[in-house]
């Protein structure tokens, strides 16, 4: 370490500049480039989703319209919802803004797992294409069962086409992508913060993203399980949602909304964070009530798991469940109200600057409040019975998701665009866009409250005249086109700015957080030297000396602010950025091929699977740092922990929810089984032996780890190989068990017991299989001397997965096998 800081010359090209051309974008692992890729894709999909919305409004303009057929209309509203949620809002918030600004705001060089980040993007792109694959078959090939895809309408019997297959598999693929980026950002925020940036000094956007990623990790598995059941129903002829076998389609609704309500907050919380970033600089005040703001985020997230039932009041859950879900839903209003009032208090007394960004932030406050308040109505079950599935709900969630989330995103666009591209968006066009949007948005969606009160149901492609709906629908449609025009302005603005926008300085807004301390657009390595954080609003304090601005001569701003925080890099040569990689793209291709294989040609699944596995192995060994214990990295990490291990544990946490969904389905359906085979078929002696085998494999696994940590290659290989062997014996036992059951006549299609048993135990088996493959790779690597003491982390992480599989079996063995006679419901 040099004692004297050397000034750093700032001739580094920005992240956008690269002689590699398009190839460098395809293989990029730079979080900023991946973010840009996400942004472009999501903006394109926003245009598509917007067109779909225009078509919907055009169809509803007059009663009895014949512009769209019923089939086309159903596709439009399904895809409008799916697109806007999964392909626009979430990618813009997570993929674009969070990806770009999490590392910049916490003073990191990149996200925790750069290649995983690129992988998330390519998988996301694959999923996006997959959702639209049905278009290849016919013009009516888009999914048409609603973004919520309620069973049993989605059963093959009622929706025979491949469109719902595409929806099902497409969402599974998108789920993988979202889960992985959630995991990535979670570890980044938890473990890669700059020194001194405690939780309570994080910018509010980072808080919001932290909570959002936790929600993603714990909500998406439920959707995955629901989609897997749907997949099984459609392709394997099981009856997860079929009444004829004793099942109930309500199961889908539970699983879907266990995911779906947190999902609402997965979309809303990042927008809260963005607004919290935008309002302070333009009010020239610190965020009011920071701890309260952070705490309410946590509370909202926590409560959001206990309220899924409020989407299901009409399904007849009974008065007790209704009341419980109602009360918990109402409770969410308290932290949300705290947030609104805290934003108001931030604005209050400030020196307000109404840039476009601030205008959108104010728009957010108004529209989101309206949306939130109508939400309180739906939280009251009796009132909800008059409102659910009517246009008042459409009004409500557009006020939340458009007036709230999208306005927040637009505010963030105008705020952060100069940092991303180094150029301003046009303020003139922006203000025009804001005012047109503000008018047209309210004029489109506020009357939906009226038609909702007048009883117009949702999702209807046509309606009768003289119901009192005609005028407002016409009015809404006209304004919807104006709203579309506002977005046209936005796209023009983006293109204009990219080509000829005004050049922005590094800190054009006199802002408060670290991302403004580096050049715009940032260099590939973000910070020349890792910044030190001593308080909230770190950059502001750098510039003005205190958190507030009292009594500090703004003169400092001229001097210190001009020199970015990282200007005193000592050893610039030490900045190594991760090398580009093609494996993320190959992985995504493999996943995509597997999806296509499900639709057309089964062998393609195996081929795609092989591509996926090979790409994972390739990716693992691509970097020489594989599994390496890096004291420097650990010393620099926030928690003093290796982030690969943090990531693994977070992933295992997420897996808990996955297995919980499978196990609860088994238990719920156990008593609804309509006769035939039941749990009494289970072979206890055999599985007892399997249990011992698996427990022993856990023992050999820890012994292997201990041997690797001693650098004892012979015993490492021996114990690893024994673990593989025990794993294989377990799998063999399971294969025997399954074959035995099939021979006795219990197939996955036979009855509820069969399907829930095979999926639960089967998915555990798949986990064991993955573990065995993983261990085989490790064994070979250890045997060839690639893994020694310094890389024992590779074995440790593999071991964590293996033990997790083991403890899941401990639970399965007890709940499914040993408690086979117990009634659950």
């Amino acid at each position: 370490m040099a004692a004297q800081p050397k000034p750093l010359a700032f001739e580094h090209p920005s992240y956008l500049h690269d002689p590699g051309g398009i190839w460098s974008w395809i293989t990029t692992v730079d979080h900023k480039r991946v973010a840009v890729l996400y942004g472009i894709t999501a903006l394109f999909m926003m245009a598509v989703g917007g067109m779909e919305a225009m078509l919907i409004r055009a169809q509803l303009m007059v009663p009895g319209n014949h512009l769209l057929s019923a089939a086309a209309y159903n596709e439009m509203f399904t895809m409008h919802g799916t697109t806007m949620i999964f392909l626009v809002l979430m990618p813009l918030e997570l993929g674009f803004f969070a990806n770009f600004f999490i590392p910049l705001q916490i003073g990191a060089r990149d996200v925790a797992f750069p290649r995983l980040n690129a992988l998330s993007y390519w998988v996301f792109l694959g999923g996006t294409i997959f959702l639209h694959l049905g278009l290849l078959r016919s013009i009516y090939g888009l999914p048409d069962a609603g973004w919520f895809g309620y069973a049993n309408l989605t059963e093959r019997m009622y929706t025979p086409g491949i469109n719902v297959d595409c929806w099902d598999i497409g969402l599974l693929i998108l789920g993988v992508s979202t889960l992985l980026s959630g995991l990535n950002f979670f570890v980044t925020i938890v473990n890669l913060r700059a020194p001194g940036m405690t939780f309570m000094r994080m910018p509010m956007f980072i808080w919001a993203m932290l909570v959002t990623t936790i929600l993603i990790l714990l909500a998406f598995p439920a959707l995955t399980v629901g989609l897997i059941f749907l997949f099984a129903d459609r392709f394997l002829d099981t009856h997860f949602y079929r009444v004829s076998a004793g099942a109930t389609p309500i199961l889908w609704q539970h699983l879907f909304w266990i995911f779906g309500h947190p999902e609402v907050y997965i979309m809303a919380l990042p927008a809260f964070g963005m607004i919290s970033e935008v309002i302070p600089p333009f009010s020239r005040k610190p965020l009011f009530g920071y701890p309260m703001m952070a705490y309410s985020l946590v509370l909202i997230a926590f409560l959001s798991y206990g309220v899924w039932g409020h989407h299901m009041f009409a399904t007849g859950m009974g008065p007790i469940a209704d009341a419980t879900f109602s009360i918990t839903s109402m409770l969410i209003a308290i932290p949300t109200g705290v947030k609104i009032f805290s934003w108001l208090a931030t604005v209050w007394g400030g020196r307000l600057r109404f840039t476009t960004s601030m205008l959108f932030a104010v728009g957010f406050l108004v529209e989101f409040t309206i949306g939130g308040l109508s939400g309180i109505m739906h939280a009251s079950p009796p009132v909800d019975l008059q409102q659910t599935d009517s246009y008042i709900i459409v009004a409500h969630f557009h006020y939340v998701l458009f007036g709230g989330v999208l306005m927040g995103i637009l505010a963030a666009f105008y705020y952060w665009w100069p940092k991303i591209t180094g150029r301003f968006l046009s303020e003139k066009l922006g203000k025009a866009q804001f005012w047109i949007t503000a008018w047209a948005f309210n004029a489109t969606f506020f009357p939906m409250h009226f038609v909702g009160v007048l009883g117009m149901p949702r999702r209807i492609y046509t309606y009768a005249p003289h119901m009192g709906w005609d005028f407002w629908n016409y009015f809404e449609s006209v304004n919807a086109f104006i709203l579309g025009f506002a977005f046209l302005l936005f796209f023009i603005n983006i293109i204009w700015s990219a080509m000829d926008g005004e050049i922005a300085s590094s800190d054009p807004w006199d802002a408060r957080t670290l991302e403004w301390s580096i050049p715009s657009p940032p260099p590939a390595f973000n910070f020349a030297a890792v910044p030190m954080v001593t308080s909230r609003d770190a950059f502001w304090v750098r510039k003005y000396g205190t958190v507030g601005t009292h009594g500090v001569a703004p003169a400092i701003a001229g001097g210190a602010a001009a020199a970015p925080i990282g200007a005193h890099a000592e050893v610039e040569e030490h900045i190594h950025m991760p090398a580009p990689s093609l494996y993320p793209l190959i992985f995504a291709l493999g996943v995509f091929l597997m999806g296509v294989g499900c639709l057309v040609w089964t062998r393609l699944i195996i081929m795609g699977g092989a591509v996926t596995v090979m790409s994972v192995i390739g990716m693992v060994f691509e970097y020489p740092s594989f599994g390496k214990f890096d004291p420097a990295m650990i010393a620099e990490s926030t928690l003093g922990l290796d982030h690969r291990k943090v990531g693994m544990w977070a992933f295992l946490g997420s897996e808990c929810v996955f297995f919980a969904s499978l196990i609860s389905t088994y238990m719920v359906y156990k008593d609804r089984n309509l006769g035939g085979f039941d749990a009494m078929i289970l072979n206890i002696p055999l599985t007892s032996v399997s249990t011992f085998v698996l427990l022993t494999s856990s023992l050999t696994m820890v012994l292997a780890l201990a041997a690797v940590q001693r650098d004892d290659r012979k015993w490492s290989v021996f114990w690893l190989a024994s673990t593989v062997l025990f794993g294989c014996i377990f799998l063999g036992g399971q294969a025997f068990e399954f074959t035995d059951f099939v021979m006795q006549g219990l197939k996955i299609q036979t009855n509820l017991f069969g399907q829930t048993f095979y999926t639960l135990v089967g998915f555990h088996g798949i986990h064991v299989l993955i573990g065995v493959c993983w261990l085989i790779v490790l064994t070979i690597a250890v045997a060839r001397g690639k893994i020694g003491k310094d890389r024992s982390l590779a074995v440790e992480i593999g071991g964590l997965y293996w033990h997790f599989v083991d403890i899941v079996w401990v639970i399965i063995f007890t709940l499914i096998y040993l408690m086979r006679t117990v009634k659950h419901a």
Binding site: A222, L652, C656, V657, L695, Q709, A825
Partner: protein, 116 residues
């Protein structure tokens, strides 16, 4: 209360690989796990224990779960961050199981006529 609450920034530093237990402990845990599993199977086959089957099995499973988690997965020795990362979702998962069972049992109780 703030006298000596740890700053999480330093929470992890006091642990390292050296704290991990040796093979002796692993073998002991393996023995305990074997005994517990044997106990589970015994409980399953003893008719007299049927009334208390569920609590006994649940407790045994939780104990096994905890032993593997604490010692084989090193949660007992590692940073508490890992414990949190795992236990929090685990209990959320439990709540989901619990909630769904409650909701569905209620459905069956109130709406007893299920159309075949």
């Amino acid at each position: 209360m703030s006298d000596h609450a740890l700053n999480p920034a330093h929470a992890g530093h006091d642990v390292s690989h050296e704290d991990h237990p040796g093979p002796g402990l692993y073998l002991l845990i393996a023995a305990i796990l074997t005994v517990l599993t044997a106990a589970e199977i015994t409980v399953f086959y003893v008719p007299g224990l049927q009334p208390v089957l569920v609590p006994i099995l649940l407790v045994l499973a939780i104990v096994k779960f905890a032993f593997v988690g604490m010692f084989y997965m090193h949660l007992y020795y590692d940073s508490k961050v890992f414990t949190t990362l795992f236990v929090f979702p685990l209990l959320l998962a439990l709540l989901i199981v619990f909630g769904l069972l409650l909701l569905f049992s209620h459905l069956q109780g109130v709406l007893s006529f299920v159309v075949p």
